[in-house]
Symmetry: C2
Subunit: 480 residues, 2 copies
């Protein structure tokens, strides 16, 4: 019997050339069964007369399947496979954990430290491979990336592949996908997976000159279902319905975005994480189909407000980017981006990285990938280490009145504390300390990436001494 | 005929020892007349059998007066004086100008760059003289200062003078003022005046161990009227009803604060500027008796929101202090305070300085005065020079969408621009530039205090080049 690792991909391929449009005229799906449990999974046409069904089993043991199709040749095909233990680096898909945090399906903690290369899969093989090489060196475990190519400042180049069949004039046939495009896209998702990186897949976006932002609701829906049929079996997939969805509201009103969310809920057998990213008008992330808050906002000191408002994990994926382009969202210093990361993270939230340094050939990481030129990513790696060596269940913001008054930031879990002082330079600190328990204090230089213990064991101390310098954090851990 | 300079003080002194409490049982005031114009001015008891009436004439020419009293000896006293041109450094009291700004009564621009030494007049002669010496070297042209002594952290010392008569046990008689206290206080106000510094007089505050915060509404009102009778004739007086009034709300409900404002409107013949300072609950500064917004808030990027909300001049008198004490409001870096000043000021608002460095004898400038130990005050002096060499009518915030999105800050007046980039480091800039006019561009290093012209004259430039470094500002001036 064929074996597939848990959260791996089992694929069925069926050959045949039915009449009509193979993307729209053939209905194909399969029922996968484990004992009495049944899961319906849609198939898709992959070109060259080949139809496929992909499935990600979540339970070890013997699975069976049977296909269903309006094309008799594809109907009632049966088979089985054995789902075995996952390989060492396979922890399954990421799920919500502890209300405001994440972990992998196998229980391993996952703290998102993502970056953004919107159009990296459209830059040609050499640069795409370079991006993957860069990612190997960096801390990033999530990648925000668009399906569609991008038309925007610093983004004038044509993509290598197009998602739909095109005629000689460049007109797309939105009823016919280009399987080559999607195979290429999947390859990149798979390579990210093998680097331990979640693919935060942006389904729609407004930066367009090919007509993808102008599709009808029916065309949008078909595209969305095709994408889910192809990609949902990859365990590292997250769905980001759009980038700056509000810049598309004239074409796709709010109800349509709600419907897209409901379609994802309906089509995706694995319920991958779902969110949506805004320009200036926040989507109502309290809606039940949103699994976590994706936000674009420069004022990271509002982190706690977003937690309180939405009661879900908060990722500020775009708290502006390190760079020097003329646009304010793309020219903060590396120090400032690191500062914003610490504020989000010590508040029990998460942040996203991006880099926008001007380049003579417009090779900006934020969109095209390639190489990193900045100085924030190393500090984000350091912060990730600090967080991963902390409580597995994540941090909750301290609510002490002196902490929340738009000033210093402090997160806790039990008697663990991570307090970030930023532009503050207290020579001592009294608030939010553990009570009636012995603890150690370490001073973290967030820029120099050093961790320095303060001598002694503290217990019910009125105040802990601090160096009186800015951009420091303090880690407090109970003595066990 | 006696001569008094315009906005100087004309004083009437009357001697006598009527029966009863000389502070409460004698009613005394005077009517001052200039041609057909009449102004009522309250008198006050100054101890030693001397009653006084002080008057600040605002018009040059011949003035007459007649007194009124329930004590016959003081009634119907008449006299006259000649009001002459003011001396060179006397520009009169500060008034609101151009809706969001200030200027002196003689039309000279006044841009507030204030500091805070809450209890400096209660530190004894040596330190108080030292404070005045320090102020001579610094840019500050407004001083926030309390009438009452202060009981608070780092403030344990007894005052030299008490505002009310006290018995042997230290109990105050709130119906009997201590004229020596007020003469001392007036001397300090006068010395500030002679240094060109407005006295932002804080009438009530919650930091008390002597009972001043516990007075009845009647006692409060009597104190307020006595203060106005004594001090209103000093042209450099501003009224700040309270510091952190909201921490007194249990004792003095909101209606009482409204009433205090109305009393100031009623008693003060000169209508000095009036505001109130909050801890966390903002007073409604839209109320008609508030002349300008006094605010305590760390998030200076909300400056434009406060302008829009209140439609009055905005002074963020406490956007946290340079220092290193454990409390977040008193431990930001000098760099951060300078940064916050620039954000407020380039938004057409104003900010206040304070310094809270730990000291072995608790000599913190913010409360006691003395000497300055920090590094922000020099940069505030530099900023004041920049502002004073700019448009006399002050700045209005640019509303370009890229500027206001919680990012860079830009103020304008006609074709003048002052744009502050802060943590942003654009290599070029395109937004909010003047149209159809030739202009020069200078780069201002807000910390190093340098102003560097960019070569060339610009006109309808798509973009101006910038150094791509943080904490810079740009000054744009039309070529005339």
């Amino acid at each position: 019997m064929k074996t597939i690792e848990q959260w791996g991909i089992f694929e069925i391929a069926l050959e045949g050339r039915p009449a009509g449009n193979p993307f729209t005229d053939v209905a194909l799906n399969a029922t996968f069964s484990y004992q009495h449990r049944q899961i319906q999974v849609d198939g898709f046409y992959d070109g060259g007369g080949v139809y496929k069904i992909r499935f990600m089993p979540d339970t070890q043991g013997e699975w069976r399947y049977v296909t269903h199709s309006n094309h008799g040749e594809f109907d009632a095909k049966q088979g089985e496979f054995l789902c075995v233990a996952p390989s060492a680096s396979n922890h399954g898909p990421v799920r919500i954990h502890n209300a405001y945090h994440f972990r992998y399906a196998d229980g391993t903690p996952y703290f998102p430290f993502g970056t953004t290369c919107y159009a990296w899969v459209h830059q040609g093989n050499a640069m795409e491979e370079q991006t993957l090489q860069t990612l190997k060196q960096t801390p990033f475990n999530k990648m925000r990336m668009c399906v569609f190519p991008k038309h925007y400042i610093y983004n004038a180049n044509e993509p290598v592949y197009y998602p739909f069949e095109r005629d000689d004039t460049g007109q797309s046939d939105f009823a016919r996908f280009n399987p080559e495009f999607f195979r290429h896209f999947e390859q990149r998702v798979e390579q990210l997976r093998d680097l331990g990186i979640e693919a935060d897949i942006i389904i729609f976006h407004p930066y367009d000159r090919w007509g993808y932002a102008e599709m009808t609701a029916e065309q949008d829906g078909r595209y969305l279902r095709y994408l889910v049929a192809r990609l949902a079996a990859y365990r590292n997939v997250w769905w980001s319905l759009a980038n700056e969805y509000d810049f598309l509201l004239e074409k796709k009103p709010l109800e349509q975005w709600d419907r897209f969310f409901q379609m994802l809920e309906t089509c995706d057998p694995y319920q991958h994480l779902r969110s949506i990213h805004q320009g200036s008008l926040l989507y109502d992330h309290t809606k039940p189909w949103v699994t976590h808050v994706c936000i674009q906002h420069a004022d990271v000191k509002r982190a706690k407000e977003w937690r309180t408002l939405y009661r879900k994990p908060v990722i500020n994926d775009e708290c502006q980017y390190e760079g020097n382009i003329p646009l304010p969202w793309g020219n903060i210093t590396a120090q400032e981006l690191v500062h914003r990361f610490w504020i989000m993270v010590a508040n029990g939230c998460y942040a996203g990285h991006g880099e926008t340094y001007l380049h003579p050939e417009d090779l900006l990481w934020w969109s095209k990938g390639g190489i990193l030129r900045g100085e924030s990513w190393q500090r984000i790696a350091f912060l990730r280490q600090v967080i991963e060596s902390g409580p597995a269940d994540g941090l909750t913001p301290l609510e002490d009145e002196w902490v929340w008054l738009h000033s210093v930031t402090g997160g806790f879990n039990g008697n663990y504390r991570l307090m970030y002082f930023g532009e503050h330079q207290p020579a001592g600190w009294s608030w939010g300390l553990p009570k009636d328990v012995a603890y150690t204090v370490e001073v973290i230089d967030t820029w120099k990436m050093t961790i320095t213990p303060i001598d002694g064991i503290f217990k019910n101390a009125a105040e802990i001494p601090l160096p009186g310098k800015p951009y420091l954090a303090v880690r407090i851990r109970p003595v066990v």
